[in-house]
Amino acid sequence: MEDNIMLDLRNIHKSFFIGTPNEFEVLHGLNFTVKKGEFVSIVGQSGSGKSTLMNIIGALDRPTAGEYTLDGIDIEKAKDHELSALRNKKIGFVFQTYNLIARTNALKNVELPMMYAGMGRAERTERAKMLLAEVDMTDRMHHNPDELSGGQKQRVAIARAMANDPAIILADEPTGALDSATGRMIMDIFHKLHEEQGKTIVLITHSPELSQETERIITLKDGNIIGESAGHWDRAAKEVE
């Protein structure tokens, strides 16, 4: 296997058990790879299986069948606590609904993954402040989630996703609950992470324009990949500019 591969999914099936005798298959044997440093978007109709796929990529769920390696790690063989460590260190999640921990201020939210990683208090606070500064949230770092706007919450969530300097960022409709201007700002942050830090990003979106901003667009329909196309973003072009 090439060592510039971040994600390698082969023949991934996922079924949900919805009461005997029914097994409801949502993903019907997907194959695709994502290179290190790639910015990929996944599009498709509602119910096509995007989130289901994302949960498998994020090691939150296991495929029913198929092989999946993330940064060279065989997910199928990993134990629960190994998956915890993997999610902690390798993956940064950004959710549509932000999923900040209630009654816990922005700073503490960003510190959380570092705390689970066993980082010392002073060190993680310092890093959390730095990450919040990057998303321009320094002013509001002592505010609890219920005192922040949607866009602000999502910026905190992105800072939190970056906490342990993950190999890959997984964002499931991160702008879905935001107005277009705020969504734009969030997208700009992703571009910055992609370009400046070379992060691998997998983005699920309903917006055709946003997907066009990525390097590669994977289209899902009814649990199958029905197409792959290049986005308008072009690293080479950017570098030439």
Binding site: D80, S84, R87, I101, R160, A163
Partner: protein, 429 residues
């Protein structure tokens, strides 16, 4: 590190739902408060009883002439069976001074004093002009007088001849002098005072004034307490027209080195073998103060334990309440649990988080309960008129117990949270 973080999260959660948290803690609060209150009252009573008994003399043996147990005698005369009663006590049944002297000679190292007293009247009154003081007129024998060791603050104590000649002399308290002679202790020395006991008058020369010490078993402070007007034992017998050849009740004060339980047997045997073997109805019984004290302590301890156990039921109910609220809280926070797992929380750290939360609830409840319990117990003991003795050990146990309840009743919900599948938790609506 995770530990303090968990406590902070737990506290924030409790603060967000103050009413709910308090209601949840109620069972724990009530349970711990009642246990602490019961322990405080029990311990106070125990220490009061013990110190009172210590005052009376922990080295004392109580000795008395009692009915013989009739088991082997009444089998053929059914009439007496069960009551043990044969006949009234007569002179022949009493312990005379000669017997006591022989007894003292037998155990010179063990016996320090043989206390005798003769009560003339408990509800006496001494009047001076318009003023009066309540007195108990009581006769002490020489041993008793020496043992009680009253602090003489004016005049003198009793002399040998006062006892031997049954002199009509008395000692009064400074309290009495305070009431009748405006506290002029010297003025009363040598005066003859008259005590009216239920219409009978007894007059004695005051030879000394001793310091009044309030007894521990007295409710509140009276400005006219009944104090002892002490006269020699022999004088008291004269006053009572007591012609008996002896007495049937004594207190023995033994030396510090004497093992009282062992000595009690020796005393009983001495009298029963030498003087009562042919007595058809009476014998001598001896009880040591220490064994009485132990019995009393065991009894109080048992009552305390029983009451605490009943109060403890409320702790179990409280624990179940905590478990219930933890289950509710975990359901409410399913999405949070999912998020934490997505961020890398292990099952163990989730479990620890919720156990910590349940322990924090129980601990706060426990501490509130301890405070309530101490206040309640102290007030109760104060109302009874004593000093409260809060036991440190009961507080330590209460703290430990509430933590244990937190762990025990928090484990199941916490484990349930820990075992949630991350994606199911995240998708939970």
């Amino acid at each position: 590190m995770l530990f303090t973080e968990n406590i902070l999260v737990a506290l924030a959660g409790l603060k967000a739902n103050i009413m709910r948290s308090l209601l949840t803690m109620l069972g724990i609060i009530i349970g711990i408060a009642s246990v602490i209150a019961i322990m405080t009252v029990g311990n106070s009573i125990t220490s009061i009883v013990n110190s009172t008994m210590q005052d009376l003399g922990a080295n004392n043996l109580e000795m008395g002439v009692v009915q013989k147990s009739q088991d082997n005698k009444t089998s053929d005369s059914g009439a007496n069976y069960g009551t043990g009663y044969v006949r009234d006590m007569t002179d022949q049944d009493l312990i005379t001074q000669d017997m006591l002297d022989a007894f003292k000679a037998e155990f010179p190292d063990d016996i320090k004093y043989v206390l005798k007293y003769e009560n003339v009247g408990e509800k006496g009154k001494v009047t001076e002009g318009s003023k009066s003081a309540n007195v108990q007129v009581i006769g002490y024998n020489k041993d008793n007088f020496e043992f009680k060791d009253k602090k003489i603050i004016a005049g003198r104590g009793f002399l040998n001849r006062d006892f031997e000649n049954a002199k009509k002399v008395c000692l009064v308290t400074d309290k009495l002098v305070e009431r009748l002679y405006n506290g002029d202790n010297d003025a009363i020395i040598g005066k003859q005072i008259e005590a009216n006991v239920g219409g009978s008058y007894y007059s004695y020369y005051v030879v000394g004034v001793y310091e009044y010490v309030q007894e521990q078993f007295s409710f509140g402070v009276s400005d006219n307490p009944t104090t002892e007007l002490i006269i020699p034992y022999e004088t008291a017998r004269v006053a009572n027209h007591n012609q008996n050849k002896g007495d049937y009740y004594f207190t023995l004060v033994t030396s510090v080195n004497t093992d009282n339980d062992e000595f009690a047997t020796k005393v009983r045997d001495f009298f029963n073998i030498n003087y009562y073997s042919r007595n058809d109805a009476y014998e001598v019984m001896v009880v040591s103060m220490t064994s009485m004290m132990n019995q009393m302590n065991t009894m109080i301890g048992a009552i305390q334990l029983a009451l605490s156990a009943i109060a403890g039921i409320s702790l179990v109910v409280g624990g179940i309440g905590v478990m219930n609220i933890m289950l509710v809280s975990i359901t409410e926070r399913t999405k949070e649990i999912g998020t934490r797992k997505a961020l890398g929380a292990t099952n163990g750290s989730i479990r620890l988080q919720f156990i910590t939360e349940s322990v924090v609830i129980c601990l706060i409840g426990g501490i509130i309960g301890i405070i309530f319990g101490i206040v309640l117990g102290t007030v109760a003991v104060k109302l009874m008129g004593y000093e409260a003795a809060v036991s440190l050990s009961s507080i330590v146990i209460a703290v430990g117990f509430s933590m244990a309840i937190g762990i025990f009743f928090g484990y199941y919900p916490a484990n349930k949270a820990a075992k949630l599948n991350p994606i199911d938790a995240l998708r939970y609506e």
